[in-house]
């Protein structure tokens, strides 16, 4: 059953008037006839609504900084924030240098009441000293939690002093949880800090290879980045830095040498992509390595960007080889998945990315949305000039970036760049909505009540979201697929990743456990037997139940 405006209205009518007015603007029914469909996004969640959203700290430390393996991430605050961001996101990493992978370490200043009263700067400085002495990392990041900003700890000053004292890259991120309206504010804060303090801090002046790229917004969840890099390296690309999955200070500081930046997760990293364009003249290409067609298109766009015939030919060779490997493996899973429907509600880009992969398995996405994206992730970057800043977005600083006098290079001629922009998403992202078909539902910051209501009406065959709503849906007897952590599986990116995803989704549909939900005695009579024909009523022969 599709959802009409009338049904939508009925769903929203359960809300108090104010909540209804608010939520209405975050939901739309896709109508491709309309020139542009607007959706409200990146605005406050209403207090008292069961939301999936997290905070700026989670976006900064948890998402962007956390995966940098050769840096120690110190969390300045009470113990919880550091604790929950410890090893829970599945951003995998292997050490490039001995003893330089600190991802299994959670370092928290564990602020106590006296630190709240008298300030925690001294304790933070001691923690930095101890981290340097014990771990000798390539750098240190300091992430602030809520009370830090409130009590006025100057973590930037502590970082500056420590930087001078230890001669190490030590930087502070004022990503208090109350900033902005979701994780998104934290992405921006982290982007600013990496751009100001780390990217470009290296000595390299020239790219190490002919086709040197960075991959931005790829966090190596379940090993995604490794699968993507396997193919890219095979084609002939040099991956300078990945931001930030399996990433490192050692690589990131020289990210300025790349000739092209790939953007996988637009939401979390587009700020750096833009700033690299301005500062070093490096264009960025919106790619998507989730889904086979999207991965192929991304590879072809990359090859056309560099425009080298041998690279284009090699790209086709690799695509052909990879397809030959995975197609037979996908077939049995397609048979299981075909004709099914899905909800696809994820953070800031996967809500879009996974729709294509689902489609390739024969699964139609009937509802999609983002937890913390902005309007441009839905409507495309054309909408950027029309997005109004509000009190919440204004307090995240926009860096004023200018071209780097010695390192700015035009990577390709302006005319060629303009021509390429017509054929591929260079410095551009067209957003989720355009890819959604008529009658599908787009929901921003989908909450618990709406999840239940939409499930009742649309009855999806699979629900893909995160850990907080996974078991809610599973209790209803609906298979789920966590698309934040892949249910501890992966990689899902690239060619081989598609097979893993297909296998896991098919497993969700076909696990025998669904057959046992209803106990065999439900609906069955307690006593079974026959009643002998009664002489008084010879017509009655047999009655099954008593």
């Amino acid at each position: 059953m599709a959802i009409s405006e009338k049904i939508l209205e009925e769903i929203l009518n359960k809300y108090p008037a104010k909540v209804k007015r608010n939520r209405k603007k975050h939901i739309l029914i896709r109508d491709p006839q309309q020139d542009r469909q607007e959706i409200e996004a990146n605005t406050r969640t209403i207090p008292g609504v069961v939301t999936n959203r997290g905070c700026a700290f989670a976006g900064c430390k948890g998402v962007v900084l956390g995966p940098l393996k050769d840096m120690v991430n110190i969390v300045h605050g009470p113990v919880g924030c550091g604790y929950y961001a410890w090893l829970t996101r599945r951003n995998k990493a292997k050490a490039d240098e001995p003893n330089k992978n600190f991802l299994a370490y959670c370092v928290s200043t564990d602020m106590q009441e006296s630190d709240i009263v008298f300030g925690g700067e001294k304790k933070l400085a001691r923690m930095i000293d101890e981290v340097v002495e014990i771990f000798k990392p390539n750098g240190i990041t300091i992430s602030a939690t809520c009370p830090v900003g409130l009590i006025g700890d100057d973590i930037q000053a502590v970082a500056r002093a420590a930087r001078a004292k230890h001669g190490l890259n030590i930087t502070a991120y004022s990503c208090e949880g109350y900033k902005g309206v979701s994780q998104s504010a934290g992405h921006h804060i982290a982007n600013n800090g990496l751009m100001e303090n780390i990217i470009g801090a290296g000595e390299m002046e020239e790219p190490p290879g002919k086709y040197t790229i960075n991959i931005l917004g790829e966090y190596n969840i379940g090993g995604d980045s490794w699968e993507v890099e396997r193919v890219l390296t095979d084609i002939g690309y040099d991956v300078q830095a990945v931001m930030t999955g399996n990433g490192s200070y050692a690589k990131l500081k020289n990210a300025h040498v790349a000739q092209l930046n790939l953007v996988q997760c637009h939401r979390s990293i587009n700020y750096i992509a833009d700033m690299l364009q301005i500062k070093y003249g490096t264009p960025w290409l919106k790619v998507n390595f989730i889904g086979i067609r999207a991965a192929i298109e991304s590879l072809r766009n990359m090859a056309r960007y560099f425009g080298d015939e041998s690279l284009i030919a090699r790209t086709e060779e690799v695509i052909e080889r990879e397809l030959a490997e995975i197609e037979p493996q996908l077939e049995p899973y397609r048979k299981i998945c075909s004709g099914k429907t899905a909800f696809c509600f994820v953070g800031g880009s996967r809500g879009h990315h996974y729709q294509g992969l689902y489609e390739e398995l024969g699964v139609t996405t009937v509802l999609a949305g983002y937890e913390f994206a902005h309007r441009d992730d839905y409507e495309g970057r054309d909408v950027l000039p029309y997005i109004k800043t509000d009190a919440d977005s204004k307090n995240i600083p926009e860096l004023h970036i200018t071209p780097d006098e010695s390192r700015y290079r035009l990577k390709i001629p302006v005319e060629r760049l303009d021509a390429l922009k017509q054929e591929m998403p260079l410095n551009n992202y067209k957003g989720m909505i355009e890819d959604m078909t008529e009658g599908t539902i787009v929901v921003d910051d989908l909450n618990h009540y709406e999840t239940e209501e939409f499930i009742k009406i649309l009855k999806p065959d699979i629900f893909s979201s995160g850990v907080k709503d996974k078991y809610v849906t599973q209790k209803m007897g609906i298979p789920t697929k966590q698309l934040h952590n892949y249910d501890y599986s992966g990689p899902y990116a690239g060619f081989r990743g598609a097979v893993n995803f297909a296998r896991d989704v098919a497993m969700g549909f076909s696990t025998p456990t669904w057959n046992y939900i209803t106990p065999p005695w439900k609906g069955k009579p307690l006593l079974e037997g026959t009643i002998e024909p009664c002489s008084a009523h010879p017509g009655v022969k047999e009655v099954g139940a008593v």
Binding site: R44, P47, G48, D110, E113, L150, Y178
Partner: protein, 461 residues
Amino acid sequence: MLDCTPKEVIKRSGGLINPAKTCQPIGAMYAALGIHNCLPHSHGSQGCCAYHRSHLTRHFREPVMATTSSFTEGASVFGGGANLKTAIKNVFDIYNPDVMAVHTTCLSETIGDDISTIIKSAEVPEGKVVIHANTPSYQGSHITGFSNMVKGMVEYLARADTDGKKEQVNIIPGFVDPGDMREIKRLVGKMGIKFIMFPDTSGVMDSPMTGKFDMFPAGGAQVEDIRDAGNSSLTMALGYYASSTPANLLERNCRVPAITLKTPIGIKATDDFLMTLRSKFTLEIPYELEEERGQLVDVMTDTHHHFYDKKVAIFGDPDILTGLTEFVLSLGMQPVHVLTGTPSGTLGGPQGIFEKEINEMLAAARLEGRVKAAGDLFELHQWIKNEPVDLLMGNTYGKYIARAEDIPFVRVGFPILDRSTHPYLPIVGYRGALRLVEMISNALLDRQDRDAADEDLELVM
């Protein structure tokens, strides 16, 4: 694995590396889930609520429903009163629980929001109740938060409104799994004593698969029962850190005598638990429980050679550790390292009842060991490097140390994020002790089998 942890211990004062505790609010959220028809509410930034729901969900593999005040920078400057009032209205309008249980966060505590005043001025529908607990993340641990929320239940709900006290016992189970709560209830039930357990997450955090989602599952302590707890003749607080403060408050408010006992993990603590019920209610312990005890002793004796003199390191929450340490001692093992992240004394004071109790147990067994409260897993790992052990017991975070040092590992406590069934199966009572014996011997003997040369592999052990 953990290759950057050196053997040499340096004195540290900058905070924690690899904590063995987390913050108060998650404990408060868990406790609140133990009230029937209750929606926990986190008064702070959205991230707190998201983190706590996620982490509880990972441990229980169950839905954890909770709301948040969604603080913004404005609310942090001007106070969160407006956000909380909006939240209270929306929670009852949209989700309609019987109880909304508000806990604070480091954010709302630092700015000093006065929760009870805000609640009083909020629109709370007739027949509904909003309770609260102050749970500043910069004091204590998740165990303190659990205790504080149970205190909130006592403060807001329990009433002494009968002339005399009723022949019924209140049980505050502490921060344990629903399977443990069920087992404790079974034991008290077998004794034939009427009881009120609160909080009680059984039936909430171990709910069955039925094909239907219930935002408020069938389990949990009923509000009227918590109210009636003020009329009981005794409160048994299981676990000093999670349960004694609310039990003492109930004694003060409603004159219900309180006894604090160890969480009944292992044979001795279970004996103490049953003996207390026996003497307080003058009821004999039924043969069925005596039989269970005898079976446990039988297995412990049959297999003492698996355990005797084995060195073990244990970490986790203090109330769990007290029982576990006592139990491994009763198996003839040597708990040489015992560490909790929770501060032991009041508000982070240095030495408290935790170290004292564990040290007394070790002394009685003529053993010496490292015992520490407010410690971290980095330090525990260093202890193990300096004095190796045969077995490590603790929550999932221990697997990194176990792998680094190649030590058999038993998962016990909170959180267990990489295995299932622990929320359902108890570690308390004689049955729970039997399960611990199974887990410990599996870990030790699987290891012995793995390492044995072909000619040494034993069929019978």
